[in-house]
């Protein structure tokens, strides 16, 4: 696949570790130096993500849900109730870690780690803008999808190892759901790749950088959401299923199977699973932002601000869906996945291929 448009100057320069190396005057060709720097960069990004999860997961989520349901939510702990974040962190971590009898260790212990780390791993190739990107391999997009889907393994492990029927059902539901929706997700992502001709994240961002058309003096960028809104809608729906939010929160479905695969987890494991879930949503947001919303591009404000704004917008969308949309039944979900989404995403892929072919031959 050849790029269809001349690539504009990429927004980001070299990946973050190399940038740091240059700043510090170290030799970027020395593996040891790069290892340490990449480690530091990864640590920094993980810290930012953890911070984000803490704010949005503990405080933001309550406030957002409250706004949807006409309530106020936390407002007694410090300004706007913000001090609930440390309070809750301490509360969650200081709870007793209950290990039920008959759980299958170490699978049971590994599951939360797998869930949380698979989502974090995806962020390694996400371009946050302003040169904040740990690595920029040529297979960036494939890497993101591959790591994100490791979470399914974690969910199955959690469900299967818990020795609890609700967990078991939740784990099986999670796997069935992820299988059904990952394929449309990847296929729709592939339709973007058809346009850019590259799996490299920086290239995908760069390809969306020029103006598509100018409407009344306002230049509309060639974000893929404007070029192919159909693919965007498909991707958003598949993404909702991928992160397990309404109408696809079937693996947890609290009113049916208590808490699904996480029923038996308490204390720090519970935190890890929750963390994994939120970071998964953020990763979904990051992929949507990169593939469809032009990544860090945007006027006036620095790139990474835009990037985070887009990511959080996707997060808000999931919360909105959660407050307003009913949950599907598992058979309906599978039906929609295999009979609807899969067909549509193939159609989208073919359509995109035709359009790309027409443009190129023109």
């Amino acid at each position: 696949m050849a790029p269809i448009a001349p690539i504009a100057a990429p927004l980001q320069s070299a990946p973050l570790p190399e940038t740091i190396a240059e700043l510090l005057g170290l030799d970027p060709n020395q593996p040891a130096v790069m290892f340490v720097l990449a480690f530091l960069a990864a640590g920094a990004i993980v810290s930012v993500l953890m911070g984000m999860t803490a704010v949005l997961g503990i405080w933001g989520k309550r406030k957002i849900t409250a706004a949807f349901t006409d309530r106020i939510a936390v407002n007694r702990h410090g300004p706007f109730g913000l001090l609930i974040i440390p309070a809750d962190a301490v509360r969650l971590l200081s709870k007793e870690l209950i290990v039920p009898e008959g759980v299958d260790r170490p699978a049971w212990d590994l599951a939360p780690l797998v869930i949380a780390s698979s989502a974090l791993l995806g962020f390694a190739v996400i371009p946050f803008g302003n040169g904040i990107q740990i690595a920029d391999p040529e297979t960036g997009l494939a890497f993101v999808f591959a790591t994100a889907s490791i979470a399914s393994l974690g969910l199955l492990m959690a469900g299967y190892a818990s020795n609890n029927k609700y967990s078991f059902m939740g784990g099986l539901r999670a796997v069935a759901q992820n299988l059904a929706y990952e394929i449309p997700l990847v296929l729709t992502g592939a339709s973007v790749v058809l346009f850019t001709g590259s799996l490299q994240m920086s290239e995908i961002v760069a390809a969306q950088n020029e103006a598509l058309l100018t409407l009344g003096g306002v230049a509309i960028p060639s974000w893929f959401v404007f070029i192919n809104p159909f693919a965007f809608v498909l991707f958003m729906v598949a993404n909702l299923a991928e992160v397990g939010r309404n109408p696809f929160d079937i693996p947890e479905a609290p009113t049916e199977i208590v808490a699904g695969y996480q029923t038996e987890y308490s204390s720090v494991y519970f935190v890890l699973i929750y963390l994994g879930e939120f970071i998964h949503i953020f990763l979904g947001g990051a992929i949507v932002a990169t593939l469809f919303l032009g990544g860090p591009s945007g006027p006036v404000l620095p790139g990474f601000v835009w990037f985070f704004a887009k990511m959080i917008a996707v997060y808000l969308f999931t919360q909105w869906a959660r407050s307003a949309v009913p949950r599907l039944r598992i058979d309906q979900l599978i039906q929609i996945g295999w009979k609807g989404m899969l067909v549509l995403s193939f159609a989208n892929l073919v359509l995109t291929a035709v359009i790309v072919g027409v443009i190129q031959s023109a």
């Binding site: 349901t69 009113t255 009913p326 039944r329």
Partner: protein, 564 residues
């Protein structure tokens, strides 16, 4: 309820040629002729005649009464112990004409109390007879599942029987109780999975235990296990005086803001028992306050149903609770209470509309004015949502014949197209003077039951509006809120009455027998939730787990009323 139970014999019920129906009402002589030799004696109860029959003729007689005389509704089974005998009373009614009542009285001997089960005729008898066995101690032959229902399996004795002593400790070791945690690989080579849904589960609306057998995600068998919230309500009422001490209890049956509806059930039965006339003005206030309760109860049902279908972050639950709050505030102004109203009195109500009256009426009118807009919002949010329709249309199907056999009433019956509402069919209070409609939907599914509730809110609003109009124009010197009732009520001995009202969940009936003292000798509560919950296996077998949860939500049970 297991799959092995015998299917009931669904006799064709012909409305046209029912025995004993005359233009003036029920001709008990014709019915007596139908029963023929099997009739031992005829009793006179306040609400209907009682036909005494032999304990081994129960099925025979009930089949005849159902198929020939059109009594397709077994409202309640009351069991009680006398000094010389045990007695089961089958309160029969007709769905088409609930004023056509007949009590079938079945005495059984003191030393071996048993009679034939009515389960083959009416499926609803299953649980009612289990309760009779559990609390009173009568055994029912041919019953498919003669076990305790409210008390633990290991309970010693029958608490409403005469020789039961509450003083004696229940000498049952913990070990003898069924251990919910024990290994339960029932049929190791089976493809099914047994799972306990409840007693602690997010979707059971209280402490309900569903013993569920799953085949993959589908429900192969479900058996509701109730009794976790049994509080001896019947016995407590038997220990209270008619005049003052019983009225607070009804609030605690269906405690989801349907208090005044429940109080009315007791008030109606006791007023009929003691022959008390309620002043019209009080009736209007009762009607208004009862309908306020109904709105509050239905809004909560709507909200919790949304929880079951949407998941626990849905906005609809909070919206419903907010709208219910407006009604709750009005009820608080009227009764001084938000939950346990204790507002009705025998022969009237506790006090008049609070002063200043204009302010109160304005508040009510504001609520009524806002109601259409709010209901439109709910329709936009819920009933017209396609995913919601996907989930609720044609799931949890309860065919009308099954509903009738199980004695389903209220929105559950009306959602199955059964046009049955005691407010219209067996009028009490001020309902027959007002202009309103009975809502029915014939979808028989979860969706219809929700629609019925939402439309009933509209109808209740209509009723309240007319009541407010009446109350506003009521001449000041005729505002009589209380009839003249003696301080101590002692109805004549051996007077028996069964009276029901249309509560939020269906027919809430009270059976009382007096023994000449100021306390009832037997106080039996016919709870609509108890009968409605029995239909859950019909609705959910073969369905998916989420649909079973939705069906449970659409039944709108309150465990306080199921377990009493």
């Amino acid at each position: 309820m297991s799959l092995e139970e015998p299917e009931p014999d669904d006799g064709v019920i012909e409305a046209a040629e029912e025995v004993g129906v005359t233009t003036e009402g029920l001709d008990y002589d014709a019915l007596a002729e139908l029963v023929g030799d099997r009739l031992l004696d005829r009793e006179d109860h306040v609400n209907a005649e009682g036909f005494v029959i032999r304990p081994d003729d129960v099925q025979d007689v009930l089949f005849d009464l159902r198929d020939e005389a059109g009594f397709d509704y077994l409202s309640c089974v009351t069991a009680q112990e006398y000094d010389d005998r045990y007695e089961s009373i089958y309160h029969l009614k007709k769905y088409d004409e609930p004023t056509h009542e007949l009590s079938v009285v079945v005495p059984s001997t003191k030393d071996d109390p048993r009679n034939q089960s009515a389960n083959a005729v009416y499926r609803t008898a299953d649980w009612h007879e289990r309760e009779a066995f559990d609390l009173v101690g009568i055994e029912y032959d041919d019953h498919p599942d003669m076990r305790r229902i409210l008390l633990p399996e290991t309970w010693q004795g029958h608490p409403l029987s005469q020789d039961f002593s509450g003083e004696e400790p229940q000498i049952v070791t913990l070990r003898e109780h069924a251990n919910p945690l024990q290994e339960d690989h029932r049929g190791d080579d089976a493809d099914t999975m047994f799972v306990n849904i409840g007693p602690h589960h997010p979707a059971t609306h209280g402490v309900l235990h569903l013993k569920t057998v799953l085949d993959g995600e589908q429900v192969a068998d479900v058996e509701p296990d109730i009794g976790y919230l049994h509080r001896c309500e019947e016995q407590m009422c038997q220990q209270g005086t008619y005049r003052h001490q019983i009225m607070p209890y009804p609030d605690r049956w269906d405690y989801i803001s349907a208090g005044i509806l429940n109080e009315w059930a007791y008030a109606r039965a006791a007023e009929d028992l003691a022959d008390i006339e309620v002043p019209e003005y009080a009736q209007v206030i009762r009607t208004m306050s009862a309908e306020l309760c109904r709105i509050a109860a239905h809004l909560l049902a709507l909200g919790t149903f949304a929880l079951d279908v949407y998941g626990d972050f849905t906005a609809i639950f909070m919206y419903a609770v907010q709208d219910r709050e407006v009604v709750q505030n009005i009820l608080e102004d009227l009764t001084g209470q938000r939950l346990m109203f204790n507002y009705l009195r025998l022969g009237g109500v506790a006090w008049d509309i609070p002063e200043p009256r204009d302010e109160f009426f304005e508040k009510v009118r504001d609520m009524l004015d806002d109601m259409p807009e709010k209901l439109t919002e709910y329709h936009n949010l819920i009933t017209s949502n396609e995913i919601f329709q996907l989930r609720c249309v044609d799931t949890g199907v309860l065919p009308p014949e099954e509903a009738k056999s199980y004695g389903a009433t209220g929105p559950v019956a009306r959602g199955s197209g059964i046009d049955f509402d005691l407010r219209r069919d067996d009028p009490y209070g001020y309902y027959d003077e007002l202009d309103w409609d009975v809502v029915t939907e014939d979808g028989c599914d979860n969706y219809s039951r929700l629609l019925v509730r939402m439309q009933e809110v509209e109808q209740s609003a209509r009723i309240i509006e007319q009541c407010v109009d009446l109350l506003e124009d009521w001449p000041e010197d005729e505002r009589e809120i209380q009839a003249n009732v003696p301080r101590t009520l002692r109805p004549d001995p051996d007077t028996e009455v069964y009276r029901a009202v249309e509560a939020a969940k269906g027919e809430l009936g009270i059976y009382m027998r007096s023994d000449g003292t100021d306390k009832p000798a037997r106080f039996k509560i016919r709870s609509p939730c108890f009968s409605n919950l029995q239909t859950l296996p019909v609705m959910s077998e073969g369905e998916y787990v989420p649909d079973m949860i939705a069906s449970l939500g659409s039944l709108d049970i309150v465990l306080g009323e199921v377990d009493r």
